[in-house]
């Protein structure tokens, strides 16, 4: 049994598409494109660990996190500690390039951080926030049952996939695949096509052409 934890950042890929997460974490394919490069620059700025106070809130950046139950580990961009009657409640904040998305990948990644923080502190964490670079807005994310269930299910599926070492087959969906940065490596359009049948058809065609048939 393999005890390496799953990187928290893989959760967002797995929510978007389990195959995408496998291409990155099993096959180690990574197409460096503008988006990933920008993402790295942004993270490099955030990744310096430190603690500071602003407007009375303690803010810890680049905080290492882990969750034994789900075998997740990673680093939170920023965790704020909000004061309440029960004491300080951790409040994870994740920086994202771009703008809020229609799918729940970013929320699930943040929820994964919350699950780690809950296990590490024994506190219950009701919400956190995503900060989007492009809109420069904070979007509050509530860790409700639905999001928690989604996050835990995906974390388990991802773990099974990584342990099996088998990339799940592609299913081409225009909306999902066309903007996917791994489309050239994934080639979802050839999934399900028979290369054997294609080869035989091509050979038949070549041999039936007028010359030398």
């Amino acid at each position: 049994m393999d005890d390496d934890p799953i990187p928290l950042s893989a959760l967002q890929h797995a929510v978007y598409c389990l195959r995408q997460a496998a291409l990155i974490h099993v096959e180690r394919l990574w197409e460096e494109n503008r988006f990933t490069a920008e993402g790295r620059v942004l993270h490099a700025a955030v990744d310096r660990q430190g603690q500071r106070y602003s407007r009375g809130v303690r803010r810890v950046s680049a905080l290492p996190l882990s969750c034994r139950r789900l075998q997740l580990a990673g680093v939170a961009d920023l965790v704020e500690y909000h004061k309440s009657e029960a004491g300080e409640i951790p409040y994870p904040v994740e920086y994202k390039r771009g703008k809020p998305k229609l799918h729940r990948a970013d929320e699930a990644q943040l929820c994964g951080q919350a699950l780690c923080l809950e296990e590490m502190t024994g506190l219950s964490i009701p919400e956190g926030a995503l900060f989007y670079e492009q809109t420069r807005r904070r979007v509050v994310v509530r860790f409700d049952m639905e999001l928690r269930t989604l996050t835990e299910r995906v974390a388990r599926e991802l773990r099974e996939t990584i342990l099996s070492g088998v990339t799940p087959p592609a299913i081409y969906e225009k909306r999902k695949c066309d903007p996917c940065s791994l489309i050239e490596l994934c080639r979802p359009r050839i999934a399900g096509r028979s290369a054997k049948a294609w080869r035989d058809r091509e050979i038949d065609k070549l041999l039936s052409e007028a010359q030398g048939g």
Partner: protein, 344 residues
Amino acid sequence: MKKLLNTVYVTSEGAALSKDGENLVVQVEGEERARAPFHMIASVVAFGAVLLTPPLLQACAARGITVVLLDRNGRFQARVEGPTSGNVLLRRQQYRASERPEAIVRSLVAGKVANQRAVLQRALRDYGEETQISAKTAIEAAVARLGGILRSVQISTSDVNALRGAEGEAAQLYFGVFGHLIRSPDPAIVFRGRSRRPPLDPMNALLSFLYTLLTHDCRSAAETVGLDPAVGFLHRDRPGRPSLALDLMEEMRPALVDRLALSLVNRRQIRIQDFRMEDNGAVLLNDESRKTVLSAWQERKKTERRHPFLDETAPLGLAPFLQAQLLARHLRGDLDAYPPWFGK
């Protein structure tokens, strides 16, 4: 589409390659001759006595740019590579498949025979009228026989040795008439059957030189997708032999190399004075003509083609990468077979 990155070929004796910021710089006798940003380069191929500085080698290794050292004649000397991009799970699949290679070998041989046949058919189409009757008949006979071999490769239940045999027979037929495709008015440009180490006539010298370049591209393609270039299917393992690179290359040789070699001599871009003869009978391209061949090779790689299976347009130079990628997808279980590269 993945970008077709450049290969920097350095042929000047005494050239010095160094790193300047994010650039590769080529100097000859202290003078800067060329400069290219690293992110545009896939590999560096240096012929003969070329100096490479340690910071340059480090920069290349860190960025996945392979550096290949060849001697003046294009013979392989050494290769500098960064941390291997190999994927252990994929390689295990590759090794497992190499124990039972029939299915992949069938595709490789089918692709190769089909492409050899296409070269001959094309020559008949383009020059059939001007070709001597006897030569024309011989080429036609080879085309017909290659068609028969292709059919047998497609349908027979034969084992891998029979498939290897079919490949060998096809090569004999093909190279048996290949000399008839030479239309250079230089009577000394001849092809007397395939000879390798050393090449014994000008056409063989040209082919051998170009095959070296293609091997290098195929080897890099295999590495790029995480495959082990040393473990092949059609070519049996032999220490030091890049068997998988040679496998990938088989299908592409006719369209990428053989046709280019023919067009170089037939258009008289390469003439008899471009070769030199050694005392041992070896025939080699001379230094000046290698530059002509290299730039023709670079041009050929830029030609856009429809990729037969992916049905997308891509530069010919990406074919080794795309085929390696498809092979990896087959080994991973995404495809039920390895789709051959049928170049038209």
